[in-house]
């Protein structure tokens, strides 16, 4: 956009041009002129206005009109574009906001990292699959991380560990459903009476442990970028970048959840201190770990 002022160009600000000063002297101005668009799609609009100091100002707006390369609509479809609204859509008020663009970035979540072979994935997916089946018991202590030795509640290192986030889910797996009920924790009706139809929930909870915090991200890093950065290390179950609600820019940190702990470990080792977008990344476990 080019702005020229006929007089006193130094005092002129573009923001002031838009304002009306209330006085009706517009009839004194020359009419609005539209030139183009020419063969390059350049269109010029010349308008005249009075600014705050009652000086005549000439505004030249130059825009380029582009045709979208992939917009190949049939003639009928273009015609339909201008159809009048009908039915309930006629009385639609502006505030109704029936159509919204999601504020959340939705990714096509891959079950495993691309490029890894299927056999590899099978090995990785095995413990998870076992939990999913519900029949096979996989004993993993959430306090010390030991596998197959004891349950979380019987952990010998329990007192050493700092209080973790409140895990009052899965009352059934500890000993049995009855024990869970006597503890006073709420058990959904579907889970009562030893109903062991396990669903994805506990699986997810466990996965959240493999959460990696990434800080010192550049402002324009988005979730897909982060995913791209971390995907080579293994299957990623969640990527999140903190966005400032007001400005819409990144707040400079994010979280990446891995399906497997080992992958997360490798990612931390590799990417902590890695230069990304002219900043040095800091990658660490999301929550301070007890061991």
């Amino acid at each position: 956009m080019a702005v020229e002022a006929a007089t006193q160009p130094s005092k002129l600000r573009w923001g002031e041009l838009e304002e009306d000063d209330g006085e009706d002297l517009d009839f004194l101005l020359p009419p609005k002129q539209v030139i183009g668009p020419d063969e390059n799609g350049i269109k010029k609009v010349i308008e005249y206005k009075f600014n705050d100091e009652n000086n005549k100002v000439k505004i030249t707006t130059t825009t380029r009109i582009r045709k979208l390369a992939n917009a190949r609509l049939s003639k009928r479809a273009v015609e339909r574009r201008s159809w009048p609204k009908f039915g309930d859509a006629v009385h639609e008020d502006v505030g109704s906001r029936l159509t919204m663009v999601s504020t959340e970035e939705i990714l096509l979540e891959r079950p495993r990292a691309p490029g890894t072979k299927q056999e590899e994935a099978k090995v990785a997916g095995d413990p998870l699959a076992q939990i999913g089946k519900g029949g096979a018991v996989l004993m993993v202590c959430r306090t010390c991380g030991k596998k197959g030795d004891h349950w979380t509640s019987r952990c010998p290192y329990k007192d050493l560990a700092q209080p973790s986030e409140t895990f009052i889910d899965k009352p059934a797996t500890e000993t049995n459903a009855a024990a869970g009920a006597t503890k006073g924790a709420y058990v959904p009706p579907s889970m009562r009476g030893g109903n062991t139809e396990r669903t994805g929930t506990d699986m997810r909870r466990r996965n959240e442990e493999n959460s990696v915090r990434v800080t010192n991200l550049s402002e324009d890093t988005r979730e897909p970028d982060l995913l791209e950065l971390f995907r080579p290390f293994g299957a990623v179950s969640r990527v999140y970048v903190a966005i400032d609600q007001k400005t819409g820019t990144s707040r400079g940190f994010g979280f990446v959840n891995f399906v497997n702990r080992e992958d997360a470990e490798r990612a931390i080792n590799k990417l902590n201190g890695y230069g990304y977008d002219n900043l040095i990344l800091r990658v660490e476990w999301a929550a301070p770990r007890s061991n």
Binding site: L73, S74, R76, A77, R80, R81, W83, K85, F86, G87, D88, A89, V90, E92, R97, L98, T99, M100, V101, S102, T103, E104, E105, I106, L107, L108, E109, R110, P111, P114, G115, Q118, G132, P188, P189, S190, T199, G200, T201, R204, P224
Partner: protein, 326 residues
């Protein structure tokens, strides 16, 4: 990708369909007003007012001028797409479930539910070019399958009709004589009610989704089982990409059980599978109820899903979707 959320319906979605040019998206829901949206930005163009019950499915003529809808108010209606005026009403003695225009738009197949002792039926109606000449007579009525017929579509050259429903058997009928030509056999076929059926763009094969937590790909002429896609939740909706060898399955736990579990337990994602390798490619999350309807834009660059939550989510794919490798 950032999906576009369309909240025009007050009740669960039942069906979604694009017109042939892919610029309009038609949605049916259990509220009584089928709605048409612009498929690029999700703006609402209009609603079709006149039904007095849940609308179960719809179809659009090839030139995007006529819409047919089947509703639980025991009628199927023909509409003018542009103005939303009802042109003709087919009256039945039981709720209409599935509607489908034949190639050429001169015939339509409408299925009706079993109701008050009446068995389910498949009706073939002639569609007049001028709505003034439209009559309600059936050319042919097919009966036989037990339980609801959830979907009936036209086979190649309008010679056959393929039906699938609650008895979990897929049937191919002769559209001229009404004779039953083929039935899917017990071993290959679905074990539980079939909820959805979708033809490929070229009409050479079709995909069925069932509550037995699987979807199956069939040859449309021989009814030979080609592929099976196994998932971990009941399948309510299926769609096939017209551009890539991908199929999408939507579903989730039964709507009545949703409140008893964590929302993540419901598995409400739309799952993408490789059509040939039958391997999962990925999932698209977003709905907070089971997915009831799925449709691919005819250009294959966007798809939309409709859920029990009353939302239509319109997804335009990111560029990297088009070179996903397994």
């Amino acid at each position: 990708m950032r999906p576009i959320l369309m909240k025009g319906h007050e009740r669960p979605l039942t069906f979604l369909k694009y017109n042939r040019d892919g610029d309009l998206l038609f949605s049916c829901a259990k509220d009584h007003n089928p709605t048409v949206w612009f498929a690029d930005n999700g703006e609402r163009l209009g609603t079709y007012r006149g039904h007095n019950g849940a609308v179960w499915s719809c179809d659009i003529s090839r030139d995007s001028t006529r819409l047919i809808t089947g509703s639980a108010d025991q009628t199927a209606k023909l509409w003018d797409v542009k103005t939303g005026t009802p042109l003709y009403t087919f009256n039945f003695d039981s709720p209409a479930r599935s509607v489908d225009f034949a190639v050429g738009d001169r015939l339509a197949v409408i299925t009706t539910d079993p109701f008050m002792g009446l068995p389910s039926a498949i009706h073939i109606k002639r569609i007049a070019r001028d709505p003034e000449d439209q009559t309600g007579e059936s050319v042919l009525i097919l009966k036989g399958p037990q339980g609801r017929i959830n979907r009936a579509v036209w086979g190649p050259l309008n010679r056959t009709i393929i039906s699938a429903g609650e008895d979990s058997v897929i049937r191919i009928w002769d559209s001229e004589t009404g004779k039953l030509l083929k039935e899917s056999d017990k071993e290959d076929g679905h074990k539980k009610p079939i909820t959805s059926l979708s033809k490929s763009t070229d009409g050479s094969h079709f995909l069925t989704g069932s509550l037995d937590k699987s979807a199956k790909l069939w040859d449309i002429r021989t009814l030979k089982l080609i592929k099976t896609y196994v998932t971990e939740r009941p399948v309510n909706a299926v769609a096939m990409s017209p551009l890539l060898d991908h199929v999408v399955l939507g579903g989730g736990q039964d709507a009545s059980a949703v409140t008893t579990t964590d929302h993540r337990a419901g598995k409400f994602e739309a799952k993408f599978y490789d059509k040939i390798l039958t391997e999962e490619i990925g999932g698209v999350k977003g709905h907070f109820g089971p997915i009831n309807a799925l449709a691919f834009n005819p250009d294959g660059k966007s798809f939309s899903s409709g859920g029990e939550d009353g939302y239509v989510r319109l997804h335009h794919f990111d560029p990297d979707y088009f070179n996903i490798k397994i």
